[in-house]
């Protein structure tokens, strides 16, 4: 069964460093998403991506964040200068149609020291 994969599973970084979180969505999906979940809190929408551009983004997704689909398979989230409060689980998701279910990856735990 196809699945969304994410790497790395755990990333530890120093405050101010850049991080790139990677996702491989399901191959025939067209809509891609990033979410984050701070420990013990709810899942928060960050950004959606379709047709090689951002469709929607939340207030969390400021200038420090960017997304890219550099090739036909990867979907990345870059945080330019990490802050302590960026520590969270980051989930990637994809869906085949705009109003269909989203399939989530296992997440990347980001720890900013």
């Amino acid at each position: 069964e196809p699945e969304v994969t994410q790497t790395p599973s755990h990333q530890v970084t120093q405050m101010g460093q850049e991080v790139i979180l990677r996702c491989v969505p399901i191959s025939n999906h067209l809509y891609f998403y990033w979410y984050r979940q701070i420990l013990g809190q709810k899942v928060e929408f960050l950004v959606s991506f379709y047709n090689n551009e951002i469709s929607e983004k939340s207030e969390i997704f400021d200038d420090q964040f960017s997304v890219e689909r550099p090739d036909g398979s990867n979907f990345t989230l870059k945080i330019r200068s990490t802050k302590l409060e960026d520590s969270a689980m980051y989930f990637c998701a994809s869906s085949g149609l705009i109003d269909n279910e989203q399939f989530f990856g296992p997440g990347t735990r980001l720890t900013v020291l």
Binding site: Y31, Q41, F45, S48, E56, G107
Partner: protein, 112 residues
């Protein structure tokens, strides 16, 4: 505004009992989805119900949607210890499927 708020926040039941979780939202929606999350893991999609549907079943799961009350419920029948997890509702809000808003979730604990 908050979208997709669940209640109760936590629920503890005995194996074999039914578990009911509720979700309320504020804006109009195209669909509402329920997800499950085991501790520290990814989200697993359970069921999607569209705004023109009132009820949907999948195995031991039953979801209802009342768009006039902007609420949904998830019923898990004959619960098992393995159902212990957090359950979230998620709505696409007024922007359609490009922005999915999750509620705070209900933590379900099923005692064996």
């Amino acid at each position: 505004s908050q979208q997709g708020e669940e209640d109760p926040q936590a629920l503890s039941i005995q194996e074999g009992e039914n578990a009911t979780m509720n979700c309320s939202y504020k804006t109009s929606i195209n669909n509402l989805q329920w997800y499950r999350q085991n501790s520290g893991r990814g989200l697993v999609h359970l069921i999607l119900i569209r705004s023109n549907e009132r009820e949907k079943h999948s195995g031991r799961l039953r979801v209802t949607l009342d768009t006039s009350k902007k609420s949904s419920s998830l019923l898990i029948t004959a619960s098992r210890a393995a159902d212990t997890a957090s359950y979230f509702c998620a709505t696409d809000g007024s922007t359609g499927g490009f922005k999915t808003i999750f509620g705070a979730g209900t933590r379900l604990f099923v005692k064996a």
